[in-house]
Amino acid sequence: MKKKVLLVAVAATLITGLAACSSGGTDPSSTSAAPGPDALDSASGVTEISIWHGLGASAGEAFEKLIDEFNTANEGKIHVTSTYQGAYADLLAKYTAGVRTNDVPTVLLAGDVATGFLVDLGQTIPATSLAQANPEDLNVDDLVPAAANYYTVDGTLEAVPMNVSTPMLWVNWDLMAQAGLSKDTPLATLDDVVAAAKTVSEKTGEAGFTMPSDDWYIEQLTATAGQNFCDPDNGRNGTAPTGITINTGDAKDAISKISELYTSGAAVDGDPRGDAAYSIFTAGKVALDLYSSGVAGGFSSDAQFDYSALPFPTNSSSEDAGNIIGGSALWSSSTGTPAEQVAGWKLTSFLASPEAQEEFSQATGYVPINQEVASSATEKDYLAANPGSQVIIDQVQNTPVSTVTAGCVTGAMTSIRTSNMNQIQAAWAGQKSIGEALDQAAEDAKAALEQYQTQLGE
């Protein structure tokens, strides 16, 4: 009898122990040090890792090329499988579903706006930790400060930026000339731009201004006005944001000035996906277009007139004011074996290396995120041949590092963007005043942030 009881007790303990150990899924990553090079060196055979990305078209091709290069260079030791999971939104949905079933990639190239969500989800190892544990690989100090700033939360660099874009002011000089505005026309401040847009609209009957109806540009107007998009501190200093600020201060002024162009008819709606802002510019029907630097390639083949990219206009003289970068970054999963994690970090380091960044940025028009690229001879030649790219790179280099230019970090960002544009477009369509719209947007954002906090706490 005793033996039987003992057996049962042992069995019970074993089963309970096994059950406890096998809980797959959502344990947040431990704060202990990340694995170092030994983990990979001691691994036998080929370490298989995976990377998911949301880069389509030419950016995707350039990316795949880099992956091939990495695989060739690390043959026998590391092999990467790269999968295009659709655009950023699809990629994130797939990742979220994957977390529930423990099917996540070693490295995730996620869109900028996912930063808050990924940090809160806790399924990744901060880049800082991996860099510290692997001193032979990427030195995170080499990263362009404005780019690293975006992915730094509470002092820790969470992810390594891969592709970075910045919004520019694209000017159709032919149309400007038709309105009697020469190439010397001042366009550095928001007031200048508004004045020029009105002139073009009055003198030529074509639209003077447009931009994609995407909240990203509202955030840019806020940041270049020297204001944090959300309080407190854009969520960058350890406290979760509780509200947005666009209905107050200089940001409100900036947004109102631009909105006035819409309500007066000098500006035309650019459509949330930017389709209209793109096609109307290339069709030569708008003089001033605020658009991401990412369209540089498209414009160069589709715009058949004299145009150039100028820095984003701003009225502010604040030291903190500047543009928020866009793009995506490489996140390292905390699930998977140490060997895989280190292999993934090697991949990240490669993708962020000067050589890879130079190749990638020249092929796609994104800004290189590694400062070492600037000193490369081939890069200098490239920029000499493509002065348009220099303006874009300069803008990112000259962006000050502050919480303002880091942008707002919260998992509720996508929801806030949607409700913001709902309100602002209503104002542009004349359904309400911009002041009302911004107030309502602030209220909706507050509710969204609260709801997010609730979900976070569950």
């Binding site: 389509g56 078209a57 030419s58 659709g86 655009a87 699809d90 529930r100 996906r273």
Partner: protein, 295 residues
């Protein structure tokens, strides 16, 4: 009007048409009629015309050349770009796979169920049929979340099976076939039974052939629903290779690589099989509706 009433009316219409003397319509009326029809047809046809012509000409032809771009500009380049932008062939195969699987499953399970609901008398029969009717009122879009949890959870994401699995049985084909089977004279079934024919054999060799129009309608309904599916395939597939053509084409429209002409080329590729089907089978479709599907 019940299906049977409509049926008898259309056959009596055919009879009396043969015996009737032709009534001459007043000329001005028919000219007016012609023009009204022409205008409506032009409006209906416009999107098709625009999309086909744009697909075969360089981008912007309508802007440059007006309503009738010249034939000399004919090009297949847009199709080439479309083929490179999304894996069209692969997505076609996925769609065909989904349609085949879903339709076959719905018809087979539906026929079996309809049979069981009509011929053998058993105690839960009314409840089962009520259950089927209840599902008719539940819109598919409303129940995606739990299905998403389930299908993702068992690791089936990104497969043809995943796209078809929530729809392997559907209430409407069951309903259609059940109504049709119920109209089959009971003696036929009894005779088959007395001859020793098993239920399944009776179903497939006697009952279903007797209800060809309704079964055909059910097959068409299932196939069409499977081909046109959009929301669910969008959610449960991730990579372009595994997507159905409907989702793939919507992503072509959203991609940066595509200008309007390329998007139209993609749209043309998607609808060519169904357009051919409509042109060839139009009369059949109308007859089928007049006889089988309308109450």
């Amino acid at each position: 009007m019940s299906a049977l009433q409509l049926d008898s009316l259309s056959s009596s219409a055919a009879d009396s048409a043969r015996h009737r003397k032709r009534v001459r319509l007043p000329r001005p009326g028919s000219i007016v009629r012609f023009f009204v029809v022409l205008i409506i047809a032009a409006i209906i046809f416009l999107p098709i015309y625009v999309s086909f012509v744009s697909a075969f000409t360089p981008n912007g032809s309508f802007i440059r050349q007006g309503l009738f771009p010249s034939l000399a500009d004919f090009t297949l380049k847009n199709f080439d770009t479309a083929f490179n932008a999304i894996p069209i062939v692969q997505q076609y195969l996925v769609s065909i796979g989904v349609v085949t699987l879903q339709t076959a499953a719905q018809i087979v399970t539906g026929a079996l169920a309809a049979y069981a609901l009509v011929f053998p008398k058993w105690r839960g029969r009314g409840v089962a049929f009520a259950l089927v009717l209840v599902t008719l009122a539940i819109p598919g879009e409303a129940i995606v979340i739990p299905n998403y949890e389930l299908v993702s959870g068992i690791g089936l994401r990104n497969t043809i099976l995943a796209v078809a699995i929530p729809f392997l049985a559907a209430g409407y084909p069951i309903f259609l076939m059940r109504q049709a089977f119920a109209a089959v004279p009971f003696e036929i079934w009894e005779a088959a039974k007395l001859d020793g024919s098993g239920d399944i054999r009776t179903l497939f060799s006697i009952i279903m052939p007797a209800c060809k129009p309704q079964v055909t309608t059910a097959i068409m309904w299932s196939a069409l629903a499977a081909w046109n599916g959009f929301f669910w395939p969008l959610l449960i597939t991730d990579t372009a290779d595994s997507r159905t053509i409907q989702v793939g084409i919507s992503q072509l429209a959203a991609s940066d690589a595509a200008n309007p002409a390329v998007i139209f080329a993609g749209a043309v590729l998607v609808v060519i099989p169904t357009i051919i089907l409509v042109i060839v089978a139009q009369r059949f479709l109308v007859n089928g509706l007049a006889r089988g599907a309308l109450r």
